[in-house]
Amino acid sequence: MFLINCPYCGERDQSEFVSGGEAHIARPKQPTELNDDQWAEYLFMRKNIKGIQFERWNHAHGCRKWFNVARDTSNDKIEKIYKMGEQPPKL
């Protein structure tokens, strides 16, 4: 059970949050101009790495805000939490 430091509410138990998968996959602005492969890349392809992964999390049972988390998947250590729209940190 992680402790997650919500950028709006502070440190809370993982049970208050939901994970939203990999971060920094922006929805294409002009989907109709993409071919099947490009659209599939956006729609389906997700990383599953051992190491630092950038993820979206939502404080679902709190402020309901979405934010980004840099988490080390090998030990679940959260290296950095930053708001939506911010650039991923260099880690």
């Binding site: 402790l3 993982q14 989907p31 099947d36 659209w39 979405w66 030990n75 939506m84």
Partner: protein, 1001 residues
């Protein structure tokens, strides 16, 4: 008690409080302070159970949670009986009833004991190998194997006990109230930290509290005296919360830990009334200190499992703590100095020690010298090669070891003994450390795995870290705790510790015998009956990974999780394969550390609290009117309202007929409702729904279909335009929360530029839906001033109207195909408006109908239910709802996916209607649809998603998803059932009123 096994020195047992208990039907006595094990031993009972596989007689072996043999069935009540309870852990209470497990007819005469003589035929993997052929016989074999497997009996009735959960937070959590944990607690408290100290026993102090050898001294006092003062000090410390009888079950990431406290298991049954039995603590600790100590290891030799063979430390504890002699003719067998403490305790209590057998050449430490000076016969460089005595050990045979330690030489000597105290060294309890993700390293000097790297804010101290001698334990615990807590000075800095120091070490994982290995039974895992031979067999058969060896031989897989067995198993694998134990690694330690009852895990979440449920404001009316309820998400929805003993079918037929012929009323309060406001609200709807919203006027409603980005139907519902920048969206009942989350996600992350605000108002409004040809007359009776003409209030429109002071939003929308009005009011008026409708509708036989009738009515019209007729693989095109996809809009969620190569396939499953050739035959939902019964393998074309008997059409109707369904209209297909095959014809999805005339009444 024929033999005098109780000695006078009973420090921790209260002789004034005699307790009676029943073991295998025999009434016995013990004292307050005894464990069940010490009470049994004081009655000269060693034999308490039979082993799992060979049914060998087994006795109490340890004094703690690592006990493999003394696991008993406690209680004889169908609801309260508990299997696999370790006699060494349960505190004796008056009236305790316990029985041996895994024996029949009795522990003294067990038919299964024949397995012991068949044991050459029952090697590791016996079941796997033997019951392979013929494969079709497996079901027959399984019946018998299952019957003979398993240990205790589960209770068959509901658990009447109460359990509890509690959250706790602390600066420092200390697991284990032995000397190192106590010192750490004091240091942390002196630094003004909030400390939570857990101890699984009744008393603090660990093993040092009863340790009274004359050599060990702390600050020139007897170590136990020094410790007692420290405990008094800690009990009065306001910074330290102490929880005794509390064992740590699991250590999760981020210092989240679960601990179970026993609150009533030590009380007599009459004293437990209405008390909470166990409490589960959910602990968040800033820092964790693990001081769980170490477990003594047995030694592995031929017939090392007889009753009367015990760990040396246990023999010592039974004397020094409980005042119980485990035997009157003792022999000690050791490879280290710690067993000499047992020798001193035996001597002090006046108990006969026949000999000490030590595999080492010699030992010159202070404690060994002291034992030598007592004139005890010590056989150096000897090993036990065999033991005798079926139900209780009576002799050991010893021989001299050769220099390599791999064989025995010389003459066999036999020694009498009724208790053999064995010690093979100590294993740090690193379970919690590894559960938390910590990595171990191997210490070649002591042959132990010790904590190495961790990502968490935690520290292991004392024996749990691999310090075994008193001065190391104390001094390192002080030093390490100070460093961990970043403290310069402590009150313990000048501590003076005297103790004996071990100089000679020797370890042999599998001791040699005068017989070949194949003729011996050197047990590793007592509970699962696996021997060193089984490990070697597994290796010969090609198993290499320690995890595979474990599973093949079942070593370490009993209820004790191999607390005693695992190190020897690893050692023998390492020796046999010439591998370094550090490279071999360990098997995985998983929570819980000791078994937990289900009651503790679920706590208060039982019965009506198992899963919360939601009720609509009209719920009580439904209950009063005999509604049967259906779970939809967490909602309790009225399912149907049986009258005068009607079946569900009869009730649904009556309700739906009434709705079509006169009027019906449905509680639609559970539909998800989202209030949407903002200048970009219209643009937002355009992006989330497949159809166009730009031209929707204020006061109008529109049906919308929502997709996932993958183009599959996600949700549907009607949205009403309340004002220029104000909409009310409805969603499916089950999808409400997910739709809300999804829309918020898009607004926050993809379209932050949109000025849109979403508010879930599902709980704020109640909805009564009145439908049928007489609906208009009923609504007119309630809202007398409301113009209900089709011109003023057409289908798919909305009016805001007042009923007294109540604001009502009335929507003319229909899910049944009938003329229909939905009245939305603030939730607190829900029941009032519902009863108002019932009253006004009385003269029109207004009939409340539930979800089942609603499903029937909409199916007659071919309206889908998302989640019933769709399953996350259906596009709007598959549903034959092409009309709802806007061709003009540039983008909406899922649009691009609608022309992926996969979604435009023509042979996708598509929604169709099905009519049975026999109109009275009702298909089963989920039934498969096929074309040809004879050509095998049979090609499955699709399945039935909705099926009902329509009283209006007087025939059965069904919706189904079918491969290439659109092209198959009119085709004859088959629906095979278990006892017959039903002939069906593919039809249109709309069965009733294709012209939509009913909607206008």
């Amino acid at each position: 008690m024929s033999k005098n096994l109780r000695i006078n020195n009973k420090q921790f047992v209260d002789e004034t409080r005699k307790l009676s208990f029943v073991f295998n039907g025999k009434k016995l006595y013990g004292y307050k302070g005894d464990t069940l094990a010490s009470a049994l031993l004081s009655n000269d009972i060693h034999l308490v159970g039979r082993s799992f596989k060979y049914h060998r007689p087994r006795g109490i072996m340890t004094s703690g949670s690592e006990e493999p043999n003394a696991i008993l069935q406690i209680g004889n009540d169908d609801a309260l009986t508990e299997p696999n309870v370790r006699a060494t852990e349960i505190e004796l209470y008056d009236g305790l009833i316990c029985n041996s497990q895994n024996c029949w007819p009795s522990v003294n005469f067990d038919i299964g004991g024949i397995n012991n003589f068949l044991s050459p035929l029952l090697p590791a993997g016996f079941y796997y190998k033997t019951f392979m052929w013929p494969a079709s016989f497996w079901e027959k074999y399984e019946y018998f194997i299952r019957k003979s497997a398993g240990l205790g009996k589960s209770p068959t009735k509901q658990d009447p006990d109460m359990y509890d959960h509690r959250y706790m937070h602390c600066d420092i959590l200390i697991v284990g109230g032995g000397v190192s944990g106590l010192i750490a607690a004091k240091i942390a408290s002196d630094d003004n930290k909030k400390v939570l100290l857990l101890e699984d026993k009744e008393l603090l102090g660990g093993s040092l509290i009863y340790d009274d050898n004359d050599i060990s001294k702390i600050d020139n006092q007897k170590s136990s005296e020094w410790l007692k003062k420290l405990i008094e000090n800690i009990k009065n410390d306001k910074n330290i919360i102490i929880k005794t009888r509390t064992s740590l079950a699991a250590y999760h990431n981020y210092n989240f830990l679960l601990a179970r406290q026993n609150l009533t298991d030590h009380l007599s049954v009459n004293d437990r009334n209405n008390k909470i039995r166990q409490r589960l603590y959910k602990i968040r600790a800033k820092k964790v200190i693990i001081s769980t100590g170490a477990i003594e290891r047995p030694q592995v030799f031929h017939n090392n499992d007889r009753p009367g063979i015990m760990l040396a430390s246990a023999v010592k504890k039974y004397i020094d703590y409980y005042g119980v002699r485990c035997g009157l003719e003792n022999v000690i067998f050791t490879n280290n100095d710690s067993a000499y403490e047992t020798a001193l305790s035996l001597h002090k209590s006046g108990t006969k020690l026949n000999a000490i057998v030590d595999i080492r050449e010699n030992s010159s430490s202070e404690i060994v010298n002291k034992v030598k000076s007592l004139g005890v016969q010590i056989y150096w460089k000897h090993t036990i090669v065999n033991t005798k005595g079926y139900k209780r050990i009576n002799k050991v045979a010893i021989m001299k070891l050769n220099d390599k330690g791999n064989d025995v030489i010389g003459k066999k000597i036999e020694l009498n003994c009724d208790c053999l105290a064995i010690s093979g060294g100590w294993t740090p309890m690193v379970h919690l450390f590894t559960q938390s993700g910590g990595k171990l390293k191997f210490d070649n000097k002591d042959n132990i795995f010790v904590p190495d790297k961790t990502n968490l804010n935690q520290l292991s101290i004392g024996s749990a870290k691999g310090d075994f001698e008193l001065d190391d334990v104390l001094k390192n615990s002080i030093k390490d705790t100070k460093k961990f807590l970043q403290i310069e000075n402590s009150n313990f800095d000048k501590i003076d510790v005297q103790c004996s120091k071990e100089k000679e070490k020797k370890n042999i994982w599998l001791l040699p015998s005068d017989k070949p290995l194949s003729k011996t039974k050197p047990f590793l895992d007592y509970q699962n009956d696996s021997t060193a031979k089984d490990i070697k067999l597994a290796l010969r058969e090609g198993f290499k990974s320690i995890e595979h060896v474990k599973r093949y031989t079942t070593t370490g897989m009993g209820t004790d999780q191999g607390k005693l067995a695992n190190m020897h198993a690893l050692g023998i694998v390492a020796d046999t394969t010439n591998t370094n134990m550090g490279d071999l690694g360990t098997t995985t330690f998983r929570p819980p550390y000791t078994p937990l009852t289900f009651g503790t895990i679920v706590g208060r979440n039982v019965g009506q609290f198992f899963d919360i449920f939601r009720k609509t404001p009209m719920h009580d009316w439904h209950v009063d009117n005999n509604a049967k309820f259906e779970n939809v998400g967490q909602w309790k929805r009225a399912w149907y309202y049986p009258k005068d003993g009607e079946t569900m079918h009869d009730a649904v037929q009556r309700e739906s007929k009434a709705a079509r012929e006169s009027s019906g009323i449905l509680d639609a309060s559970t539909l998800g409702k989202i209030d949407i406001q903002g200048t970009d609200a219209n643009e937002f709807l355009n992006r989330v729904y497949t159809n166009a919203w730009s031209k929707l006027q204020i006061g109008k409603c529109r049906y919308g279909l929502m997709l996932n980005e993958d183009g599959m139907v996600y949700d549907d519902g009607v949205t009403t335009k309340l004002g220029e920048n104000h909409y009310l969206m409805t969603t499916t009942t089950g999808g409400a929360a997910n739709v809300m989350s999804k829309l918020e996600d898009y607004l926050q992350t993809e379209w932050p530029e949109l000025d849109v605000f979403l508010t879930s108002v599902t709980d704020h409004y109640a909805t009564a839906s009145v439908c049928g040809p007489n609906a208009k007359k009923i609504i007119n009776k309630i809202f007398k001033d409301l113009d209900l003409s089709d011109e003023s209030f057409p289908h798919m429109s909305f009016k805001e109207v007042k009923l007294g002071n109540i604001n009502c939003r009335v929507m003319r929308i229909s899910f049944t195909g009938e003329l229909s009005y939905e009245i939305n009011v603030e939730a607190s008026y829900g029941k009032y408006i519902w009863e108002k409708c019932i009253e006004a509708g009385k003269e029109f036989n207004i009939t409340p109908y539930g979800t089942e009738t609603m499903h029937l009515l909409r199916a007659e019209k071919g309206f889908i239910i998302v989640g019933q007729d769709t399953d996350g693989t259906m596009t709007p095109v598959d549903l034959q709802m092409d009309w709802i996809i806007s061709k003009k809009k540039y983008d909406f969620i899922g649009k691009r996916s609608l022309y992926r190569s996969d979604t435009i396939r023509e042979d996708r499953k598509q929604l169709v209607g099905l009519l049975t050739d026999d109109p009275n035959e009702i298909l089963e939902e989920g039934a498969q649809i096929i074309k040809d019964e004879n050509k095998k393998p049979i090609n499955m074309l699709g399945h039935v998603t909705s099926s009902y008997f329509s009283p209006t059409l007087k025939k059965s109707i069904a919706l189904a998803v079918l491969k290439e369904g659109k092209k198959l209209k009119g085709q004859k297909l088959l629906v095979p059932m278990i006892d017959k095959t039903i002939k069906v014809t593919v039809s249109d999805t709309v069965f009733l009123d294709k012209e939509n005339e009913r909607i206008n009444g």
